[in-house]
């Protein structure tokens, strides 16, 4: 999957606990994105990064934070997980931005009980 690794692949956690998902790329691409996928909603952007320490919010950013301290790593943190954050989370990378050629990871299935 274009040198993208998401970890963990599956996680079950309890309401109120913090959770961190990791996206690691080996492509040295500048742009990285976190999306969540839910039935009936398609893919919705949570946060994105356009460089090291440069991040911005997407359309569903409430309850999430991100960090990018290195080009290759983009972390998504659920500060206090809620059942509404049960979802499949996808990381994507892009070399040139402009929405072009996003490569997606295999996803993380997160269940918040």
């Amino acid at each position: 999957d274009a040198g993208i690794t998401q970890s963990p692949r599956h996680k079950v956690t309890e309401t109120g606990t913090p959770v961190t998902l990791r996206c690691h790329q080996t492509e040295n691409h500048r742009y990285m994105y976190w999306y969540r996928q839910d039935p009936g909603h398609g893919l919705r952007l949570i946060h994105y990064s356009y460089g090291v320490k440069d991040t911005d919010k997407g359309e569903v950013s409430d309850g999430y934070s991100v960090s990018r301290s290195k080009t290759e790593d983009f972390l998504l943190t659920l500060e206090s997980a809620t059942s509404s954050q049960t979802s499949v989370y996808f990381c994507a990378i892009s070399e040139r931005g402009r929405g072009e050629k996003l490569f997606f990871g295999s996803g993380t299935q997160l269940s918040v009980l």
Partner: protein, 113 residues
């Protein structure tokens, strides 16, 4: 709010048929319109994309038709095969949002033998 509206939600065609998936948008700032294909358990993968300066683009059995004045675009799959059974997402990107993609809600396509 969904910036890209996709229809139908699901579609069943026989092998050899030509499924057509439609998308509509309102924001005239969108300047890149890709289609992604997703198989179960996998991340979406870029299938084909178009920019608004052309009205049609073909890649193999996949064709995008683009109508700028109507703010609509569609995906046609010629000579569809059972292996084309997947979920298809249309998307659009805006230059001033980190070039993140806005996705439609997806169409589940089943091609029967």
């Amino acid at each position: 709010q969904q910036q890209v509206k996709q229809s139908p939600q699901s579609l069943i065609v026989q092998k050899g048929g030509i499924p057509i998936i439609n998308c509509a948008y309102e924001n005239t700032a969108f300047d890149y319109f890709p289609w992604y294909q997703q198989f179960p358990g996998k991340g979406p993968a870029l299938l084909i994309a178009i920019r608004p300066d052309v009205s049609e683009k073909k890649e193999g059995r996949f064709t995008i038709s683009f109508n700028k004045s109507a703010k609509q675009f569609s995906l046609h799959i010629m000579d569809s095969q059972p292996g084309d059974s997947a979920t298809y997402f249309c998307a659009a990107s805006i230059p001033n949002s980190g070039y993140a993609l806005n996705f439609g809600k997806g169409t589940s396509l089943l091609v029967t033998p």
